[in-house]
Assembly symmetry: C2
Homo-oligomer: 469 residues x 2
């Protein structure tokens, strides 16, 4: 076996599994363990009991982890979505999570889709937009199937500006929208006139100037900003305060030096953009998501691998894709969230879990890096000790420790990265995610934030698919 | 007794001391303890054994801590030092630490003083500047005696721009220079043409534009930035990365919107200032120092109090001032530093400890807040566990926990603040400081960073002075 020195399997499976590793000279840590269902253990045994298959799996997993952790992701551009995803031209909207129909869509997803149709001018009112969507006159497709990711509803329409992130190590790209800020925003299903006006401001005023600044900055290193922010109390999902501040100070000189400044309204516009960045702690989330997707995608098609390459939710279903199973989605109903609610709201108002933002956990950030972000517990609940326990737990179901993403409080140990279907299956520990909480009804918005344990069934299904392939 | 709920004395003294507190219904924690010298214990007994004196001390200390921890410090202006400290007009230079003569000054202090004389145009060469200083043609006075603080050599000359920080709770002000960055800089004793040119750039190009932006921003809340930065891995002495980024994003809109932008060179100048802020992680140190001094000064003259209001070093001596002893300095030789050196340098090259920056520890930041900054150990040495132990130790010699400065990793416990002469004297635990390391020779600059344990004698002297007053 040819594992990087930092990779030490944590075995939460039957003794023969650990023994099989020991026979190959791989040190492992054994955890207390509850037995998996017979279907899962027999799938695991099929892989583990066959030396040739086992070796192929290890080789594929090692290759997947090398690809994922050697990514260097930089921000190269800001473009209109239609220029990046030509399919959008024919009245298509992208959305978060696995594939979804209008009929199956939850309240906040419907709100965001209808709002986007209004923003695009395809309809003149929300009821008209809903009619178009109901009739199927607007196509729906997952962001993940177009190199994109979007937080919460994750709706991307043709004339939304998207951040273009390039993985310089492998040459692939990923995209995400500009973050609208907190509160009443499209991604949480709000869609009133103020929400639409803000989207237009992002498109008409922010995008042209920010595009010029991003091009002038010539490749802002997002992987480096993420590594620094993990040393500054961010976990890059629900807390992006440090990363956004580092991004702001990195882009600010390019903003100030742009040609826009020579126009009469230039200084006021640059000031407004800098104020938007200063007031939007969550701005960097969309960059952390695109960088995570750009890092994970090169590992998306390695036959035999048991590494998860995407976790995502559309508000109705939670789904995953894995390295060994390519583009196929494995899904289960979206889970409920354990969190802190804004005043006046409670669990009865909450929509089930929603958004592509779980791509951060898939890449070793978010809840997997909670030990780096003790201050986040003031926002999502829990205690710093609990935050640390979540990270500790995720070491048990991941394949590697990230060589560049480290946690000072854990003596600079790398974050747990690379959810392994085998470890999830045998340990019966499902991943945890940080998340925002959307109101279950269309048009309301965010009502809280918290932690969610995703359903384990998709991991079991995927493991069985790998084992029988 | 009328102590805030957050204040719990930690007793590292003789049993009768703890018993005396217990008799008054004050809960206390008892530590392992080594006996103090007889002079110190008899001074302590004089205060503790007299119920009237003891009550007066407790009242004075409680008042001191209330004043220190209720400060709200904001940045209100950037002015030429001569406009703020008129005494400077007559060829005076301010310096870090307790009072100092040219004869007693160490290498880096001499380098900085001579460089400042050159910068002011009082001399045309460094030898000429040294002659003026040697002849006493240039007066020297501690920053601390003019409401100012300066890092390392801490030299302030009449035409240096100084940041003006106002404590809105008490109306007093404190001042500090603009930080020059790292490496070859005046404050570490470097004084070549590049160092002087950078000082001129700060004065002639940065200051006018930054002044306008600071006035436009109308009171940037430094206390709030410090509180946020403690949740982002800074301890505000050797690590100011988060605070500088938060400051940058707060001032950037005002910089961009200034009139300067309408001039032909405006965008380039604003861009250069934003780049300087982006590249100078240590920029906020000077603001943290001025904010700490502005917070501590209102507690500077409370008879009977045993709270330390300033700790500082001039490279030759370490000195303190206390609430109960007013303007008087208590000094001892400056200590050596335990730290990490830049390549090519070692302990033999190091100057003893230097700078007013220990005002941050005096105010509950710096090494006292090390537990908030585990990532700093990559810069100053040690481990995250050791960083935490330093903070734990400082709880044993301080009077309070800061209500606004909290440490997420310690379950949001307030930082230890208010060094208490009695606790230092009886526990024999002297404060620790984060610090930079200057080369011992004039003209070289910074060669490392580390941790220093200050000498205990000044605390003993001050305690005896309080006891005999």
């Amino acid at each position: 076996m040819n594992l990087p020195a930092s990779i030490q399997p944590v075995i939460a499976g039957p003794e023969e599994f650990a023994d099989a590793l020991a026979n190959q000279g791989v040190p492992s840590v054994r955890l207390a363990w509850q037995p998996p269902p017979e279907t899962v253990s027999s799938a695991a045994t099929r892989v583990l009991g066959d030396a040739r298959r086992y070796a192929a799996m290890e080789a594929a997993n090692t290759e997947a982890m090398t690809r994922i952790t050697s990514a260097r992701c930089v921000l190269v551009d800001l473009r209109m979505a239609r220029d990046i995803v030509p399919e959008l031209g024919d009245r298509m909207l992208l959305h978060a999570g696995p594939p979804l129909s209008w009929e199956a869509a939850c309240g906040p997803m419907r709100g965001a889709l209808a709002g986007a149709a209004l923003y695009e001018g395809w309809a003149r009112s929300l009821p008209e937009a809903e009619t178009l969507l109901e009739r199927g006159d607007i196509a729906l497709s997952p962001c993940h199937e177009h190199d994109a990711v979007g937080p919460m509803a994750g709706v991307i329409s043709p004339s939304m500006p998207v951040l273009v992130v390039e993985n310089k190590t492998y040459g692939n790209r990923a995209f995400s929208t500009l973050n609208e800020g907190l509160g009443k925003v499209l991604r949480y299903g709000a869609n009133d006139a103020g929400v639409i006006a803000r989207l237009r401001w992002l498109r008409d005023e922010v995008a042209p100037t920010l595009t010029a600044a991003i091009r002038r900055a010539d490749g802002l290193d997002l992987t480096s900003i993420i590594a620094q922010a993990l040393h500054m109390g961010d976990e890059l999902h629900n807390r992006n305060k440090a990363a956004t501040a580092l991004f702001t100070r990195a882009i600010a000189p390019s903003l100030a030096e742009g040609d826009i400044h020579r126009s009469p309204l230039g200084p006021r516009l640059v000031g407004a953009i800098l104020r938007y960045l200063a007031e939007t702690d969550v701005f960097f989330l969309n960059l952390a998501m695109a960088a995570s997707k750009a890092a994970l995608d090169p590992a998306a098609d390695l036959p035999g691998s048991t590494i998860v390459t995407a976790m995502s939710r559309n508000g109705t279903e939670f789904g995953i894709r894995t390295s060994g199973t390519g583009d196929r989605w494995f899904t289960a109903p979206a889970p409920a969230i354990d969190g802190l609610y804004f005043p006046g709201y409670g669990p009865d108002d909450a929509n089930p879990d929603l958004g592509d933002s779980a791509i951060t956990e898939t890449g070793g950030l978010g809840a997997f890096a909670l030990a780096a972000a003790p201050a986040i517990t003031q926002f999502i609940g829990g205690t710093p000790a609990l935050a640390r326990r979540y990270t500790d737990e995720m070491y048990g179901i991941t394949y590697a420790e990230h060589p560049r993403y480290t946690i000072p409080a854990l003596d600079f140990r790398g974050t747990p990265v690379g959810v392994d279907l085998l470890k999830v299956g045998m340990s019966r520990i499902a991943p945890v995610l940080d998340t925002g909480i959307a109101h279950k009804e269309s048009g309301v918005g965010q009502i809280g934030a918290g932690i969610v344990r995703v359903p384990i069934e998709p991991f079991d299904q995927a493991l069985m698919a790998v084992a029988s392939s």
